[in-house]
C-alpha cells in the first residue's frame, strides 16, 4: 500500500511530485533544501596523549590529556605524544610542554632504525628526568 500523498515534514511526499503546479509548469516548489554549511576552514588543533614507546621504536598513543597533565607527566619522566595533522603546530606545542615541564631541552630526529613509526621528540637537557615529549609529523604518526 502506498502512503497517502501528503506533505511530510521532511522531504517530498511519496507519490507527490515536487514542484508541480499550473499546467505542467514547474513552480519553484517547497523543496526542502538543506542549508549548506560551509566546512570549517580552521584546521584541527593538536591533541595530547599519554604515550608508550614500543621496543621497535614506534609510539603508541593512549588517552587524551590536558597540557597541564602532560607537563606533570613529563616532570615525572613519563612519555607523552602530541598528535594532529599540522606538523608545525605539533612541534611547537611539544616544545612548549617540554620547556614548561623541564626547562632546557633539545630536539631529536627519529632514529634511522625506528622505521616509519619512529617520531621526533623533545627531551630535557641534561637528563634527568627520563622520557620524551614526542610529536607527529605530516608523514610519521603514533600508533
Amino acid at each position: 500500500m502506498w502512503p497517502r500523498a501528503e506533505t511530510l515534514d521532511v522531504g517530498p511526499a511519496i507519490g507527490k511530485r515536487v514542484g508541480m503546479g499550473g499546467k505542467g509548469k514547474k513552480k519553484p516548489g517547497n523543496k526542502r533544501v538543506r542549508p549548506i554549511v560551509a566546512p570549517s576552514t580552521a584546521p584541527l588543533g593538536p591533541s595530547i596523549h599519554e604515550a608508550t614507546v614500543l621496543s621497535g621504536g614506534g609510539v603508541r598513543k593512549g588517552k587524551v590529556i590536558t597540557q597541564a597533565q602532560a607537563e606533570a607527566l613529563r616532570r615525572n619522566g613519563q612519555d607523552i605524544v602530541v598528535c594532529g595533522p599540522q606538523h608545525g603546530a605539533n612541534m611547537l606545542l611539544a616544545r612548549d610542554i617540554e620547556h614548561n615541564a623541564n626547562g632546557a631541552y633539545n630536539r631529536c630526529g627519529p632514529h634511522a632504525w625506528a622505521g616509519r613509526n619512529g617520531l621526533p621528540h623533545y627531551q630535557p637537557d641534561p637528563r634527568p628526568p627520563a622520557g620524551h615529549t614526542i610529536y607527529e609529523t605530516a608523514t610519521r604518526h603514533a600508533l
Partner: protein
Amino acid sequence: MQFFTSELYLRYNAPDEATALAADAEWEAAIARYHQHLNGLYEKMPSQVVELSKLCQHDGEILQREEQQHPLSFGCLEDWPGPSRFWPMWYGLATVAVRIEDEVVTLFYFLCDHLSVQPAPEQWPFRKAREHWLYDEIHWQRGDRGRFTHLVLLSSGVVLTIPFGTVSISRFALAPGTSERGKQSA
C-alpha cells in the same frame, strides 16, 4: 659524520620554526640516504658489524669510552730456540659502554687505528655533562679491506671516530628499578 652531522643537528634545534622544519626535511632525506649507504655495505660486513649497524643506542647514557693497548703474546713460541725473531706485538681495543633502560650494552672494538675524538663545535649549545649517545654511522674504509669506521655523535657535541676490524657486543641486564631512565626513544 656524513649523514647525521653536528651541523644538521644544530639546525634541527634552531629556535625559529622555519629553519627547524627545513631541517626536519633534511633529516628525513639523511635517513633515506643512510639506508641506501648501508645497503651497499652489507655484503662486506661480518655478522657482528651487521648487528652493530642495527643497534639503536639513541639516548643511551655513556658510562665509559676509552682506548687501551694490550700486548699480543705468542705463548706457543716461548720455547723457540735462539734469539727472538719477533718484535713485541700490541693490539688496540676500544670500549664504549652505554646504559639504556635496564641494560648496559658494551661495545668492544678491535681497532685498526687509534680512536679519535673530534671536539664539539664552538657553538654547541647543549650540556656537556652526562654524555648520551645521539646518532651513529658505519662506514667502510675504502682501500683497507675488512675495516670499518664507526662514527658516533654524542650529546656533548663530541664525535667519536672508531676504526675497527671487528666488534663484540655484550649486554648486561641491570637489576630492575636501578635505572632512572624512561624507555628508549626512536
